[in-house]
Symmetry: C2
Subunit: 296 residues, 2 copies
């Protein structure tokens, strides 16, 4: 499987799932349509690909991670829907299309996001193949739940909101906390869930966690850099927002050069950890290379 | 254990849990405070009590259901926080105190609600005693997830929003759908989770599900009736809102007399099912009696 095969598999699985539910729905059809809208809005499916590939690396098969990969994309869509709300980042555009609340209204966007959180975990429980050990299944569900909430994305979002109140006092530790939870947590969930379902050892899981954290921070630095060097068209979302909105990012706090340097350092760490873990994955390498290409 | 003992146990368990997390928190303290605020705002703890007592009925012990009982109260708090948001019911008062977004702001209220959804499921996984069978644990978690989202509360909320658009077309079936998901789903989760953890048989679980659905609808009728016969002071939330806001309720659609009649019928069914199941619970009976008292 190459990146594109994985992406198609995830998209078609999600499409089938949502269209089945929309067909069945009667009084709550709009909720399912709102959930489907952002989940299927496109995107690189990086998190799902990491999940499937991490599973393949350790077991030579990715099927047992497909439910988790789809779940993580649902969770990612949830975070985008709530992020774009007027009371949050107030963004009208997402992947070049109107954001969820612009299409379905604010109330429906709040609810669709809420429903995606639990639907993801439910998908892992109900759609992971029965041959997966129940104890591993519970661990994967818990990993998902932690990264979804107060020990993951939401913790990062809140630390971010706190930072905005007084951006002068934000130091590197605070910024790292924001990015580790807001961004790296979901990559960590993807990669560890895949590795667990692939039967990775404790030692391998530790290294994959280290990889995820470095990758997550690199990805955030990449996102921060693109925000200043790209146009709104290129990004599919409003460019140059971080500075305007007083966001704490690698670029706004430490400058573009520092952000690029940090990005390179983190990508170097990623390669280093993969070597140490003896992981051979063209897909992991391609993802790292593609990011380096765009930041250059 | 009587109703008050159960309530105290749930409150003190939740208090300990949140205060530990608040103490540990650094950059995301406000998120934990916002989560704690609404979860500990008081309330009758009916859902938690049902969960603990359902477990006791079938096993003579309630300890194994304590984590689930607390989780359901977290989920209930989440639904209140998001319900009160300006884009939803826009209510400034909850249990006689300022609602969550009035204290912490809208963004934090959205995030605190999000985090409570996953925290509840995580609490079930991490705090249910290890002697509980893993298969039962997974079933309880899935029950929680279903009632939290697109197959529970959120489905009911969306059907409710759809109803408001054209209240003239709402028939009894539509209203029943709203109430079954918006209100009964969480009672069903409480009672079935408790019964499962108490080792109830398939036959007993089916009867408990029937009880929950009748109780859930009775509780909603009760709530609809109180909205018109009580003052804001008595309710701790704004009275008379349903009619003003074009809400589809037993009272607004079919009148107060019909709602009272329906309420009595549903309570009668509850008693009937308990007898059929051979369930002896002073606590279940007291809850039913107290509701009848207030509606008279």
């Amino acid at each position: 499987m190459n990146i594109d095969d994985y992406k198609k598999l995830v998209n078609s699985t999600l499409e089938t799932y949502f269209s089945q539910e929309i067909q069945k729905a009667k009084y709550d059809k709009t909720m399912w349509q709102a959930m489907q809208y952002t989940t299927l809005l496109g995107g690189k499916r990086l998190r799902a690909i990491f999940c499937l590939e991490a599973c393949r690396i350790f077991s030579n098969s990715y099927e047992q991670a497909l439910a988790s990969a789809c779940a993580i994309e649902m969770l990612h869509a949830q975070s985008l829907i709530h992020d774009d709300l007027p009371c949050m980042d107030n963004d009208d555009l997402r992947r070049g299309k109107p954001s969820n609340h612009k299409v379905f209204g604010e109330a429906m966007a709040v609810l669709a996001g809420d429903a995606l959180i639990s639907l993801g975990a439910q998908t892992i429980i109900e759609r992971t193949p029965a041959y997966v050990d129940t104890k591993i299944l519970i661990e994967v569900v818990n990993l998902y739940l932690k990264s979804a909430g107060a020990f993951g994305i939401v913790a990062g979002q809140c630390a971010d909101i706190e930072a905005e109140k007084n951006i002068q006092t934000v130091d590197f530790e605070h910024l790292k906390y924001i990015h580790t939870y807001k961004t790296a947590a979901l990559f960590e969930c993807s990669i560890l869930a895949g590795a667990m379902l692939g039967g990775a050892s404790k030692y391998e899981l530790d290294l994959m966690q280290e990889f995820s954290r470095n990758f997550g921070l690199a990805f955030q630095a990449y996102d921060d850099i693109l925000d200043v060097i790209s146009t709104t068209d290129e990004l599919g979302k409003t460019a140059g927002k971080d500075e305007k909105e007083n966001k704490a990012t690698f670029v706004t706090l430490f400058g573009l050069d520092y952000a690029k340097e940090k990005f390179s350092e983190l990508i170097f760490n990623c390669h280093d950890i993969l070597k140490k873990a003896g992981v051979e994955s063209q897909i992991f390498l391609q993802i790292l290379d593609q990011m380096c290409e765009r930041v250059k």
